[in-house]
């Protein structure tokens, strides 16, 4: 599938924003003091920027962005619509929670809890846009929603750890939480990669033409000489050896560097830890962009069969 930059930006940025909301909400619910104070407000503002920026960027690839509101209407059947509705709903408890923090009054555990639940639901809806498509084998699998959730949580956890570190309140427990989520995300992603490598395609040129029972089918001519919409949008499949290299790059940037920085921040103290986590954030962003780009570029659409690809 053709990796559209607006969608890569949206899923990674909004994912990080929702992950951050969930992590801060969990800290708040666990009674953490910093999660009740101004630092939580900073985190909520950052999450709001990431989510809003991501949502806006997701409208850039539309043919008619001015009609984007219509996408909120078909939540009964369409995951894309559910995602939009949940994303808007999530703003409500998050804003009440943020307003409470800004006024310095305790907003009550209901608001962070509702924010976390809606954030998780929104990320789930995003992942189901892809996981519900039977036409793309690499996407139509149970591992996809788990991957999206864990990657969102991992990016949120690293951002929250960095904020705490810069605030001078990060401790070994914070680093352990972050490392735990990042390692879980890494394991899930590697499992996904292993599985898509072994997967047997659902459809083939034989079933696409229905001629498999007559003999071995091969393409004689295309209907057209130049690439059409289908080929530009859905034939994009990256060579396997490039994919392997990019997977290693994503693993180092998105998993190894942030987990290593979290570990080192505990061992090496505040000044070095702050610097390392400051470097881990851009590394994580770059790693997730590579991972998300691969998510599209490695996915083959069944329609490519008609063209013998």
């Amino acid at each position: 599938m053709n990796p559209a930059w607006s969608v890569i930006l949206f899923t990674t940025a909004a994912g990080a924003g929702y992950g951050l909301l969930v992590i801060v909400a969990l800290y708040s619910l666990s009674g953490d003091a910093a999660a009740q104070g101004p630092l939580a407000l900073v985190a909520l503002a950052l999450a709001g920027l990431l989510v809003t920026g991501g949502l806006l960027s997701s409208t850039f690839h539309l043919g008619h962005p001015e009609r984007a509101w219509r996408a909120l209407t078909q939540w009964r059947s369409a995951w894309l619509s559910r995602e939009g509705v949940l994303a808007l709903l999530c703003y409500m408890p998050a804003l009440v929670w943020a307003a409470g923090l800004a006024r310095g009054t305790a907003p009550g555990p209901g608001w962070p809890l509702a924010t976390a639940a809606l954030a998780l639901a929104t990320v789930h809806a995003t992942s189901m846009i892809y996981a519900s498509l039977k036409t793309v084998d690499a996407w139509h699998r149970g591992g996809v929603p788990l991957n999206y959730q864990l990657l969102a949580l991992a990016s949120g956890a690293v951002a929250w750890l960095a904020l705490r570190q810069w605030h001078g309140i990060a401790d070994a427990r914070d680093a352990a939480v972050t490392i735990g989520v990042v390692v879980a995300a890494a394991i899930a992603k590697h499992r996904y990669w292993r599985r898509i490598d072994r997967a047997v395609p659902t459809s083939s040129l034989a079933t696409a033409t229905g001629l498999g029972g007559h003999g071995t089918v091969s393409v004689l001519f295309w209907p057209h000489t130049e690439d059409n919409y289908l080929l530009k949008e859905m034939r994009y499949v990256i060579a396997r050896r490039h994919a392997a290299k990019l997977r290693r790059m994503a693993s180092v940037l998105a998993f190894i560097v942030p987990a290593g920085a979290a570990l080192a921040s505990v061992a090496l103290g505040d000044a070095v830890g702050s610097l390392l986590l400051g470097l881990a954030l851009p590394s994580l962003v770059a790693g997730l962009v590579v991972e998300r780009w691969l998510f599209f570029a490695e996915a083959k659409h069944v329609v490519a069969n008609y063209y013998g690809r």
Binding site: K134, T207, G215, V217, W222, V303
Partner: protein
């Protein structure tokens, strides 16, 4: 509304005979010609006279080779929207622009509601939907809905343009929901099949398989032993090679 109708009164669709299709592209060009002024007009072309022409087509004719133990054959293969009973392009549409009509089963796009997110084209396994970058909306086969019910056309012309244009009668149109209809009987007699049934879309359009080739009896060649003429020809042949 992008919920699928639980059932449709009729299931209008096409039956495409892969045995008689000669791959002339008349269905594709007549489709383009009619629909460029029809329900989903225009079918924009980009760079039509340049080095990389591209454009929206509702019907594309592929050609495949099928290798069998007794030899190979060419199968021409027109590909267009199958107006599926469980059309995934309809249910993924976030805006309600995509819909399947409860009266006749035709799958259409409301161009005024489409936001051009392209998700329907991702959901369709048959490549039936194409994006028009000039208008910013998705386009697809309308089954020539603007011919079927068009009182300005003579009765005989109220069929899809591709069916009217086919010179070999490889395309038939009718109600596939009615077991007594001509198209249903054709499917029954010739063993019509679904494309990619494993995708679970329950396509309405059916394809008829190529018939088994009739092998002609080998011609009898009389051997004329000692034929002077053939000996001379063999000698010339040896000389020249």
């Amino acid at each position: 509304m992008t919920m699928l109708p639980p059932r449709t009164e009729r299931s209008l669709g096409l039956v495409i005979d892969l045995d008689t299709c000669v791959g002339c592209h008349a269905c594709a060009t007549s489709c383009k010609e009619w629909n460029d002024a029809g329900h989903s007009a225009p079918l924009t072309d980009t760079d039509p006279y340049g080095a990389t022409p591209d454009g929206v087509w509702f019907n594309r004719v592929h050609a495949y080779e099928v290798q069998t133990p007794t030899g190979s054959r060419t199968v021409n293969f027109p590909r267009s929207c199958l107006h599926c009973e469980r059309a995934p392009c309809v249910t993924v549409c976030p805006t309600g622009a995509s819909f399947k009509r409860a009266t006749d089963g035709i799958v259409l796009v409301d161009a005024d509601k489409c936001i051009g997110c392209k998700l329907c084209s991702w959901a369709c396994p048959y490549g039936a939907r194409e994006y028009d970058p000039d208008v910013g909306v998705m386009k697809k086969c309308t089954l020539c809905v603007d011919r079927l019910y068009n009182g300005n056309l003579p009765e005989a012309s109220r069929v899809p343009a591709c069916v009217a244009a086919c010179p070999t009668g490889a395309r038939s149109f009718g109600d596939l929901g009615d077991p007594a209809s001509g198209v249903s009987r054709l499917v029954q007699e010739r063993g019509g099949f679904d494309l990619m049934p494993e995708q679970g879309c329950a396509p309405v359009n059916k394809y008829l398989p190529p018939r088994q080739p009739v092998t002609p009896a080998p011609a009898r060649l009389e051997r004329k032993a000692g034929n002077v003429e053939s000996a001379l020809l063999r000698w010339i042949d040896r000389l020249l090679t």
